[in-house]
């Protein structure tokens, strides 16, 4: 074989590749069900009498698009509420319960709570004995306030050994924020 035609054959191969590569498909992939999307955060606060107040954040179209719908509630002063949370992806049918993912990876997650009108205490732990925050106690203050607020932050991969972190102080937690929601509520006597 005359080797001087080797590059030419190579070029024929290249052009064949070029032509055969075009338009192997002409339809976009189907719409995506965003797997890590959290559309909904529900906070259930149950008082000692068994009455439950629900705070919720719902943003069904995810980041951007329509504005989220935030719902607060009315709490009593000087009351300790037992809190639980659920996280959902309601863009899927049926809705996906993200709370299960958090429970499965509880060593990588921690909720932080803050409010000028309440204090918080963790009532759950991960496998290492560090707090998670899916359940908690919320003790409201003694002064009424018609414009009180409560902020819930979920950090992914925080430093749970950081100073004050296990007590709920976010200052040294680091990590990245998966959820940050502020709920308005009314505090009545």
């Amino acid at each position: 074989m005359n080797c001087k035609f080797l590059p030419f054959l190579f070029a024929v191969f290249a052009i064949t590749m070029t032509i055969s590569s075009c338009s192997e498909d002409d339809t976009p992939p189907p719409p995506v069900n965003e797997e890590e999307l959290i559309t909904t955060l529900n906070v259930f606060l149950t008082d000692t009498a068994g009455n439950t107040v629900t705070f919720s954040f719902v943003d069904l179209d995810g980041d951007g698009g329509n504005a989220p719908n935030i719902t607060g509630g009315t709490l009593m002063t000087g009351m300790t509420y037992s809190g639980t949370m659920t996280l959902l992806n309601e863009s899927e049918t049926p809705a996906e319960d993200i709370t299960i993912e958090i429970q499965e990876e509880d060593d990588e997650h921690q909720f932080f709570f803050s409010s000028d009108d309440a204090t918080f205490a963790y009532t759950d732990q991960d496998g290492n004995g560090n707090p998670v925050g899916l359940t908690f106690d919320m003790t409201t203050g003694s002064m009424s306030n018609t414009s009180a607020s409560m902020t819930v932050i979920l950090r992914h991969e925080p430093d749970k050994a950081g100073a004050g972190v296990s007590d709920g102080d976010i200052t040294n937690a680091g990590g990245e924020t998966d959820i940050e929601v502020t709920f308005p509520f009314v505090l009545n006597m």
Partner: protein, 764 residues
């Protein structure tokens, strides 16, 4: 006022160039070629001026005599000697001149001169030779040219960097890889071009009006990578091997290249490269997860048969890059927390070598063919075809054991065919050509996220022509390119509605200019298509704590450009070169931050929305050189300043390079036993950014930086066909703690600290 200032500076320099006219019509140039080691003449060395058809052969004293028109102030040509030397050289002449070139038997010793000016518009104004590429084998594509005035880089830290020419980057610069218009998916600043300097044997950089030849995407400049045909009359194979050790990051690189005659009239060039490193460290701490792995392979087959010269090429590129762990954050709260940290949250006591999430993994394949058929001595037909495929995967920190599932998974394929014909004599150069290309963007499913880039098919048909004619001492040049693009974009909206959009813009590039004795002025107008990211991006950018949002109402971008090149004639050995440029954009595309953050369940995020405004961009590049031959010293100083303004709002444009000045000194001496020692040191002053959109940045630009870089080179000619070069260099010698405006990492961490590197280059 800003616009008037640009115009005043522009006119001042035009006037100053006009005052220096007045020269003779031709130069007599005598060149003598001597052996570098024993100073003996090289009687059979040949030299062929690029625009000439014939080579001149040196006489028994190694001399050739040329009579060159004085319009050719910069001479570029090919030197051949014996079996082993086959390389391009360039030099400048301003009068009758005698030159002595001392040649090595290995072409790699001959480090080409960086050109400051040229007469022919089709020449690159910066040329990076094979020798320089071998020395810079470990550099990223952006790092390779970042020392050239007017060229800087915008980066996302480490190897994730894009070249920037005169404030323009990304889809306003075109990389041309062996005739293939390089397309990858380096949207935004957080991605680097998926190509290595090792992709070719030489790089030509066009910073002025290359869009006529390389397409409207070359609005801001073009990088043209090629592999020249090896000499067919050499009796043995040649090659080079580079071994590198990087002490910051504890990395290593191995790069090799070999070329020779495979069969009669068939020449092969093979290049391969692997490199990797672990976490780098700044002056104070480890930059966790900044490791990198890279792998490059390339084969070029050249053949020559009668009047037909042909090149076939295939290449593979793969890179896996870690993203600084602390740069992956959540919302604005996280960003503010990061800004207030002296030390990034994620840092370790010792560097790691594993590349963890977040990370980017990209692969790029090319295959192509370039032919030239000489129809007669002056007329050449060129036929080219090529295919490329780019695959980009980005891995994030995810919940639910999804770490191995990419959040971004995109494929891109392009193919093209181009036919052109040129006519080239010593006083006339014309080219006309036709190009068709097809591009497919294919977001992959199974990422569990909405694709950042939609499904798209783009077909482009282009016709171009250029003319260059000498009229005595003046050369006029002009070119025109027309592109018709058809793009179909298909995607599902957030509401799951199927959307199909069709665009068919007409694009163009045109330029006109004149050159005289190295001075040059040119004007160009270019219209480029808005890219997919600018029109369709929509989502949170985790490392920037912003929502990036394209706008489908964005239209094609236009620019009107003017460039002036002013090489001042040298007196007393001083060389001064100044370059001025001005761009006016009636509809510049860029991102602007929203005044208030947007609320999501993950907290508040600022929105960076693509918008279009009237804008202007201008600046000055300056190079000063002085050789003190008796002391074997060379002094150089480069500097550049760029200004950019949104004309509508009177605000500065984002990402404008700050003022920079870079003086350096090098000393070279011959040692005994065929050894040469070179020492160099340079100082780099990076000013604090003076011009930035004040209400568009979350933190003020970092303070000025003062960097000292040094290197030592020992060249050893060990045997007739084996030589070595040992380079010990150190960037940021003083381990200066600093951040830079054009690096997005400035929000999270300091720049890399002291970077000692050892390289052993072997030539055979």
């Amino acid at each position: 006022m800003q616009g008037l200032r640009y115009i005043a500076i522009f006119l001042l320099f035009m006037l100053s160039s006009g005052l220096t006219f007045g020269q003779s019509s031709s130069f007599n140039v005598s060149i003598q070629f001597l052996d570098h080691h024993d100073m003996s003449p090289l009687p059979s060395a040949s030299f062929k001026v690029e625009s000439s058809e014939n080579a001149s052969i040196a006489d028994t004293e190694g001399k050739i005599h040329l009579n060159l028109p004085d319009s050719l102030s910069t001479i570029r040509g090919l030197v051949r000697y014996g079996c082993c030397l086959n390389n391009h050289i360039e030099f400048e002449i301003h009068s009758d001149t005698s030159l002595v070139f001392m040649l090595e038997s290995h072409s790699e010793w001959m480090e080409d001169i960086t050109v400051h000016s040229e007469e022919h518009h089709n020449h690159a104004n910066v040329y990076i030779s094979s020798a320089k590429l071998i020395e810079a084998a470990d550099a990223s594509f952006a790092q390779l040219t970042s020392h050239i005035p007017g060229i800087t880089m915008i980066s996302y830290g480490g190897q994730i960097a894009k070249p920037m020419i005169h404030g323009l980057y990304g889809h306003r610069l075109q990389i041309v890889n062996h005739g293939i218009l390089h397309r990858d998916q380096d949207w935004g600043i957080e991605h680097a071009p998926d190509i290595s300097p090792w992709a070719g044997s030489q790089v030509e950089i066009y910073t002025r009006s290359p869009a006529v030849r390389y397409g409207s995407s070359a609005m801001g400049g073009a990088y043209v990578i090629s592999t020249p045909m090896p000499s067919s009359d050499e009796g043995h194979w040649h090659g080079s091997v580079v071994n590198s050790l990087y002490f910051n990051g504890l990395g290593a690189g191995l790069h090799g290249r070999i070329n020779g005659v495979l069969a009669k009239d068939v020449m092969l060039t093979y290049s391969g490269s692997i490199q990797g490193q672990g976490d780098q460290f700044s002056s104070d701490y480890i930059l966790t997860n900044t490791g990198m792995r890279q792998h490059v392979q390339r084969v070029n087959l050249h053949s020559q048969w009668k009047t037909w010269q042909h090149e076939a090429h295939v290449s593979y590129f793969a890179r896996n890059t870690g993203i600084l762990r602390s740069a992956h954050i959540g919302n604005v709260t996280d960003l503010n927390e990061a800004l207030n940290r002296e030390t990034p949250f994620y840092t370790e006591d010792s560097p790691g070598f594993t590349i963890n999430n977040p990370r980017q993994a990209t692969q790029h394949y090319t295959v192509g063919s370039n032919s030239q058929i000489d129809l007669n001595a002056n007329t050449h037909l060129h036929i080219a075809a090529g295919y490329q495929q780019n695959e980009r995967q980005e891995f994030d920190i995810r919940r639910g054991n999804r770490d191995r599932i990419p959040v971004v998974d995109l494929k891109l394929r392009t193919s093209h065919v181009e036919v052109s014909m040129d006519y080239n004599t010593s006083s006339l150069y014309t080219i006309i050509g036709l190009r068709y290309s097809h591009e497919e963007n294919r977001p992959q499913s199974r990422t569990g996220t909405n694709p950042i880039i939609p499904f798209a098919n783009t077909n482009t048909t282009a016709i171009f022509g250029a003319l260059e004619k000498e009229f005595g001492r003046i050369t006029l040049f002009s070119g025109l390119r027309y592109e018709h693009v058809k793009r179909a974009v298909k995607y599902y909206s957030r509401q799951r509605d199927y959307v199909e959009q069709h665009e068919s813009p007409d694009l163009y590039a045109a330029n006109f200019g004149l050159a005289w004795n190295g001075y040059r002025i040119d004007f160009s107008g270019i219209k480029r298509m808005a890219n997919l990211y600018e029109r369709y991006a929509d989502g949170i950018h985790p490392a920037a704590a912003v929502i990036i949002r394209g706008d489908s109402a964005i239209r094609s971008e236009q620019v009107w450009q003017a460039n002036v090149s002013l090489p001042f004639p040298s007196t007393n050995g001083w060389e001064i070169y100044a370059g001025l440029y001005y761009n006016y954009f009636p509809n510049f595309i860029y991102t602007a931050s929203s005044p208030s953050p947007e609320l999501t369940i993950a907290g508040a995020f600022f929105v960076e929305q693509y918008i279009q405004n009237k804008a202007q961009l201008g600046g000055l590049d300056l190079t000063v050189k002085k050789s003190i031959e008796k002391a074997h010293l060379d002094f150089s100083m480069t500097s550049s300043i760029t200004l950019g303004q949104n004309i509508d709002s009177k605000q500065s444009l984002p990402d404008i390079p700050p003022f920079e000045i870079n003086p350096g000194l090098s000393w070279t001496t011959e040692l005994k036993r065929n050894k040469t020692l070179g020492l160099s040191i340079d100082y780099q002053y990076l000013a604090k950014a003076w011009f930035y959109p004040v209400d568009q940045v979350v933190a003020p630009p970092p303070s000025a930086a003062h960097l000292v870089n040094a290197s030592a080179e020992l060249m050893i000619r060990a045997k007739k066909f084996f030589s070595m070069k040992i380079i010990a260099e150190c960037q940021n010698l003083t381990n200066h703690r600093y951040r830079t405006y054009l690096n997005r990492w400035r929000y999270y961490a300091n720049e890399v600290g002291i970077q000692p590197t050892l390289k052993i280059l072997s030539f055979f």
